[in-house]
Symmetry: C2
Subunit: 495 residues, 2 copies
């Protein structure tokens, strides 16, 4: 393993390879036997659980309730909402049969040709159709509204080129689906949830994100407005980390969901949907990791503090471990997660490298001399600094340190982004600057044609029309067409 750790590719040498190796070496996830489907390993899943728990609490604080809708969708549902089918229906896992049988030639099992479904079923790529077909039965009057449902679920999209966490055929996510009596309420919900995502990204993931609207060309299939949080990764690319959609009355009309409003008239229901997925894991790794491995913000670290004993004899080992368990107990009592690495077949240096690889925010090392002096060596993962601290009052200082690390990781990512955002006003400059990575703030004439041409020529897309971080309403000329524009938008290459 020590050898393997050293083998981690450097970010500067090959960022993409660094990521792929790190996901596997840090025990986060791996490929499965089914192409494009991943196994999320316990350490990776523990991070995802921390994301889930904190997001779920934030959703519930806004009045959202969880529910569960079926995995399988009748094929015909997908063609109900015309824009939706254009955007989604193509690359799906299709269930056509419901039974296997023993191979008549005695070799394992084969699909029973008699057990063909009358209508094929699709493994959900997203659940708007199933959910709106259900809401039809739940909604009759304005008194039944709003409905604020979320589900934590798996979805399948048959992606051709997959990467662990970032783009997988099956992934885990949450999808919120809300129903409202008025357009205003639905728009407010869309806004509320993108703000929940932004707050989660910033405060929990230590990820500075820009909130904005997607351009019409980048909207969710079937949406009137899509809002997004966009993160900047260390290679200067953008990563869409969460979206919140105002769906208007599109799905209500497709599934005939009408209600009696306060005035006693029939109207179609207004809708939103919003989601984040295990893609957040990719954003987390890519935004903060370094050449030694993961760097986890304390708010998401399954192990916040790891302790490595230094000893030569069994007696020394016992003395050091006793003290460590004492410190562990004190920190755990204050709600922190602590591990004592008491494995006796590995050297401290090996353990240090392994816990660095796994991104544990704080490492404590202690030997017999420390015990004598009443000290401990404290190493912080984000800066790799080591200092010797007195044992006296250690738990309070560790708690302060965790808080500091959470903030520092955010600040570092924030500074990196600040250094990689530039205003660009001419097309020549654009083509040059986009090669350097980062976000380019440019005027755009608002047409799909210009957007498409810029993408064609540079692979850059409009990440969003920002509403915070970089709001710049000002008159100018489109960087590509020279036509008038009232606001800069963010162009970048993206994941």
């Amino acid at each position: 393993m020590a050898k393997e750790l050293k083998d981690l590719t450097k970010r500067a040498d090959n960022y993409s390879q660094w990521y792929n190796e790190l996901v596997v070496k840090a025990d986060l996830a791996e490929q499965s036997a089914v192409r494009g489907c991943m196994v999320i390993k316990p350490y990776g899943y523990a991070i995802w659980e921390k994301m889930q728990r904190q997001l779920d609490d934030m959703f519930k604080a806004t009045g959202v309730q969880n529910a569960y809708f079926p995995l399988l969708i009748p094929k015909s549902f997908l063609s109900r909402e015309a824009d939706h089918v254009e955007g989604f229906a193509k690359e799906c896992a299709v269930v056509t049969h419901y039974r296997l049988m023993n191979d008549p030639n005695g070799k394992g099992v084969v699909v029973d040709p008699e057990a063909k479904l009358e209508e094929e079923l699709i493994v959900r790529p997203t659940s708007e159709t199933n959910i709106w077909n259900t809401y039809k039965n739940w909604i009759h009057s304005w008194r039944d509204l709003p409905i604020l449902c979320n589900q934590w679920a798996n979805v399948v999209r048959w992606e051709m080129r997959t990467r662990l966490f970032l783009r997988t055929a099956e992934f885990l996510w949450q999808e919120g689906h809300t129903a409202h009596a008025t357009a205003e309420e639905a728009e407010a919900e869309k806004q509320r949830m993108v703000e929940v995502y932004a707050r989660f990204a910033r405060e929990v993931m230590a990820l500075p994100v820009v909130v904005g609207h997607k351009s019409p060309g980048e909207r969710f299939a079937g949406a009137i407005d899509t809002m997004t949080i966009e993160a900047m990764i260390q290679d200067g690319k953008a990563l869409q980390a969460g979206t919140s959609h105002f769906l208007g009355q599109n799905f209500a009309k497709s599934f005939d969901v009408q209600f009696t409003n306060k005035e006693g008239k029939q109207d179609y229901v207004w809708a939103t949907s919003w989601g984040v997925s295990t893609r957040l894991m990719g954003a987390l790794i890519m935004a903060h990791g370094d050449d030694n491995g993961l760097v986890l913000p304390p708010a998401l670290a399954p192990i916040q503090v790891v302790m490595v004993p230094i000893y030569k004899s069994d007696e020394e080992r016992n003395l050091v471990l006793d003290k460590m368990y004492e410190v562990k107990k004190a920190l755990e009592a204050k709600g922190h997660s602590v591990e004592v690495d008491d494995r006796d077949n590995l050297r401290p240096g090996f353990k240090f490298a392994e816990w660095e690889l796994k991104g544990v925010p704080v490492r404590l090392a202690m030997g017999p001399r420390d015990l004598q002096n009443g000290t401990v060596e404290v190493a912080r993962r984000d800066t790799l600094e080591k200092i010797t601290e007195p044992l006296e009052g250690l738990d309070e200082r560790i708690i302060g340190l965790l808080d500091d690390i959470q903030k520092s990781i955010y600040q570092r990512a924030f500074d990196f982004r600040a250094a990689n955002v530039r205003k660009v006003d001419t097309w020549e400059e654009f083509k040059e600057e986009i090669e350097k990575g980062g976000f380019l703030l440019c005027h755009w004439d608002g047409t799909a044609e210009t957007e498409a041409k810029i993408q064609e020529e540079t692979k850059a897309t409009i990440r969003c029309i920002p509403v915070d971080s970089f709001v710049m309403e000002e008159e100018g000329k489109c960087v590509y067409s020279g036509k008038p524009s009232h606001q800069r938008v963010i162009f970048a290459r993206s994941y």
Copy 2:
């Protein structure tokens, strides 16, 4: 709705219909557009989340970690473990294609015939095969063991006759899969987890269960030993509520998972798996519900206390609600979930019936006179008793009451079971008694033939060979064959 409530079928008239209606009327779940797949509604899902959270904590306390394995399984995996394929591979959702296309005739979408998978994929009916194929890469030495993984996931089994929660084509569950260096450790894990299930059933679900071994004929496909918790439902039938399997080295051999043991020799890994599902929801409803609706144990009630204001004027309404919010705050501060039903378009009587239907353990009603007298009407759902209590010190008494209700619900179910367990020693008596329902404690000669014949003639199966609740090692003669037997087993009809 008030009318609908009254329409709930009485248990005595038609127990099965009572259940089906109650699941829907109490907003727990409903059928979806896909045959046999259910929608779990927010109120039902909130109960499931409480089950999940408490079970998950219990699992983690034993050292189990969560992980996630893919939804889809290569068809060939299912034929690797011979017994397993016999037991499972038949009724599955089979994915054969990965793309849809626009119908050339312009009518919606059709399956793209070009996009046929080389090997069909099965939507997991259970994950042993995927997981053991993964463990192969994780396990090399005894130092890699044990592996104690659990996943919370959805599974699909193409059941022909489905009932909400009890038997659905898709259901939610947890499946634990552990790997061990020795048979003894694996057996101990199997035992530990069935005990976790029993404790959860008894303490959280208020469900008295019997722990025991399944007979060979009722074992999980591929298991050496299956342990079960068996509940008795109000119609006297048994319901299997959770199982824990010792799988021996069967899956390790099928997927070639070997390790170097402490002696430096290669050996196959020993395995367990264990699971409970949304079927527990069915057990909960059936075990405790009454003719007025659900009866929820406080440990699982999404709303533990509901308050219904009684008023004639707006002024009275405001005064009563103010007091109610004060009580709510005090109870919530102590970790209890409280709802004030301040809907102004419904009469108190309607609200009472609705919250009874939904099984809320404690209902408080308060009017202007109560306010004057410093009192409140307290109704407990389990016994339907109402008493008037002073407001002074109410929160402490409510907490005591919730505790009492939790115990009383258990006791009632325990007494019911005790009244419906009988020793039966002759075949004539057996045939008569099985018609009355309940558990029959009988000697059995240990053969599959006898078991099969008893089932054929009476539809009763061996629910388990009990290791607690009804352990009766004693010499006797098989109730069917008259051959010698050393222990009584439990026969019952079951869900």
